[in-house]
């Protein structure tokens, strides 16, 4: 599991380089990325390379979401492909996640302090 971790303004951007987040790399994703995003105020997952995500991948994203929100921060996602979007909708996670079309829009929202989750 490979990713690029960069800081843009106050946002930590994690770009996954693998084309799938499934049961075979989601544990790894969770463990490595959780350490990167802990206590960050704004985090963006750029999923442009991820073509497929299964329930364990979704679970890993959820666990990051809880961790970030637990620390008072916000998580945004961008560049979701159709299969990833389908999986998110199947388990009704679209209500919990804050999704943007592309990186620019997500970063703009983070800069403007737009709420990351309407509850």
């Amino acid at each position: 599991m490979r990713y690029v971790c960069e800081t843009v303004g106050t946002t930590t951007v994690v770009t996954l380089l693998d084309d799938a987040l499934d049961a075979q790399n989601s544990k790894e994703f969770r463990r490595s990325v959780e350490a990167e995003v802990r206590d960050k105020e704004s985090v963006l997952f750029d999923l442009q390379h991820v073509r497929f995500m299964d329930s364990s991948g979704l679970g890993a994203v959820l666990s990051c979401l809880r961790l970030i929100e637990g620390g008072g921060g916000g998580l945004r996602l961008c560049e979701l492909g159709p299969e990833v979007r389908k999986a998110i909708e199947l388990v009704r996670m679209d209500r919990l996640l804050d999704v943007y079309r592309n990186r620019a829009e997500a970063l703009a929202a983070a800069r403007d302090g737009a709420p990351t989750l309407e509850t």
């Binding site: 599991m1 490979r2 990713y3 690029v4 971790c5 960069e6 800081t7 084309d19 799938a20 499934d22 049961a23 075979q24 790399n25 544990k27 790894e28 994703f29 969770r30 463990r31 490595s32 990325v33 350490a35 990167e36 497929f52 299964d54 329930s55 364990s56 979704l58 679970g59 890993a60 959820l62 666990s63 979401l65 809880r66 159709p82 299969e83 389908k86 999986a87 199947l90 388990v91 009704r92 996670m93 919990l96």
Partner: protein
Amino acid sequence: MTLTLTPFQRALENLLSPLPPHLPLGVRLRDSGAWLREPPHGAELNRMCAGNGSLGVTLCVPAGSEALLDLGESLVAAAAQLAELEEQREGLCEELATSYESLSAVFDIGGDPALLLSPARALAKVLDHAVAFEPGIEGAIWLAKSDDTIEPTQWRTPEPPVPRDRGHGIVGRVLRERRGIIVNSRGSGWGEEPELRSARRVAAAPLLARGEAKGALVVWHAGHGSFDSRLMGLLTTLCSQAALILEQERLRVEAVAGEKLRREIEIGSNIQQVLLLGRTPADVTGLEIGTLARASRQVDGDFFGFFHHGNGVFDIVLGDVMGKGIPAALVGAAVKSQFQRFASTTGPAGRKLPCAEPAEIVAAVHDQVSETLIELGRFVTAIYARFDVNRGTMTYVDCGHTDALHHRADVRKVDLLHTKPQGRTNLPLGFARETRYEQVTVPFGPGDTFLFYSDGLTEARAPGGTFFGVDAVASALARGKDQRAQALVDRICGEVERFSGSVGIHDDLTCIAVRVTGKPPACRLALEVENVPGSLAQVRRFVSEVSSAIPGCPFHDEHVAELHLALTEAASNVFDHAYHGGAGTLRLEALWNESELRFRLLDRGTAFDPAMAKPPRFDGTTDGGFGVYIIREIMDVFDYTRGDGGTNVLELVKRFPGKEGR
């Protein structure tokens, strides 16, 4: 600070030590955040990382240095291989016994009707099963009293535990949270309970009846080790048994007759749903099953069960306990569990046992229950039927039950199955101590339908007092012969309801339709994958290949995306649960005919029925449990069987768009 390193980390440290110090490669231990190898320039903001989460390290290099990352990853892989050699030991047999423990406990307790009449003995037996889980376990069953105290009713510990305040300690926590709790570390999670003074680990589960916590089953151990979900599974099963026993006892002493009746109906229908009826199998290759189970106001003790044997062999039992009310329902549950026991071909540790003939199964159940039934003055009629799809035969043993019906598609005629084997009728269970059971075999063909039912169906009355009768059932069957099995039983139920009109239906209506669906799909493509990185991606490529190989390509992109997801979930389930994340081979077969695509996943790992998985929560508080939910959302059929020779078979069926049916 000195770090305690795992074998893997030690191996990695050794491999890293000869690297030139100026190489900008950092290796960090994820848990402690400590560096196993510190990068020379300190941490950089923008960098590339490759984590290996399961090994607990993250590699960091400056952005763009992919070659260096490759080097790091190959060192990690080498270290992992070195460490793996050290780690291969123990823990193999443990999981194998899982399902067997819970099942045998239910057989033992639920299977003995006499125990149902003595709550103290039954609870003692529940506790015996819990403490038998591991040598050295002690335990107690606590009951909540009306004055906010709790009192032990059974215990397996040298000193009897003392009654106490209900808010207290681990029992207090279980009663409040109404869920099972495992605490594997000493001194946290439980209070000053005297009996737990030397315990190192404690597990407790609530006794839930009608949504309330009535007490708790607590076990503990003074030795090192840890309790796991396997024990919790057993405790949960035992607690539902105990709750049933307590509820029955409470009813017995309940003074007010009206209140008693109301509760009896409530509990009766609970028993009926949980113990007597259970799940209808979605589909068996070549057969389609429909069931009807309408509980009456007075519980009747009708029961049915289904047993897969693999290789196209599938058994049904449908029975009816003479008499009404909770006692009849409990007898029904006990007798059904005996059928389950003798029909089961899974022995201890998941071993496959030979499959007995129907007449042998019935005779074994009779031997087990007849004495008690005679003592209780009850008897049970039943029909036990075995379908063999490959041979095209149905073999049945009728124990004084209502005659089954067989609609033959070739001659368009309904046969009443009332052949008397060797000129005599088999007796109901509990009629006589000594009796013989004979079986009869009938052939079937594509499009045939069988109907099994209890007398509640034929004895439903019209306002004028006439019975619905077997002829009316037979003509309903003939009219509904082309419907799907479930639509057929629904139709019959509707006809009975219209027939009874204002009189209403007073008995349980129980009915099973089995329709022979004709040629099963043939296997066209297969794939074998090992549990190695990338195999799930291989599964998805196979799914794409299959989708485009089906003539006419009935699935478009969105369907294929769904199939990717469902098959990935199913395959990772196999790797996780059958092989526990270790090595193992998964065989994937794709079969199709003109109306459906069927995937079969075969593995030789631990028995695991995904249907037993808990339903997921959608509020973001849990990360897991979505896999089975996703598969069910996407596929039309999702079924598990334990086949011959210890093979797990998962079947996932997707009907072609426009051919979904139902």
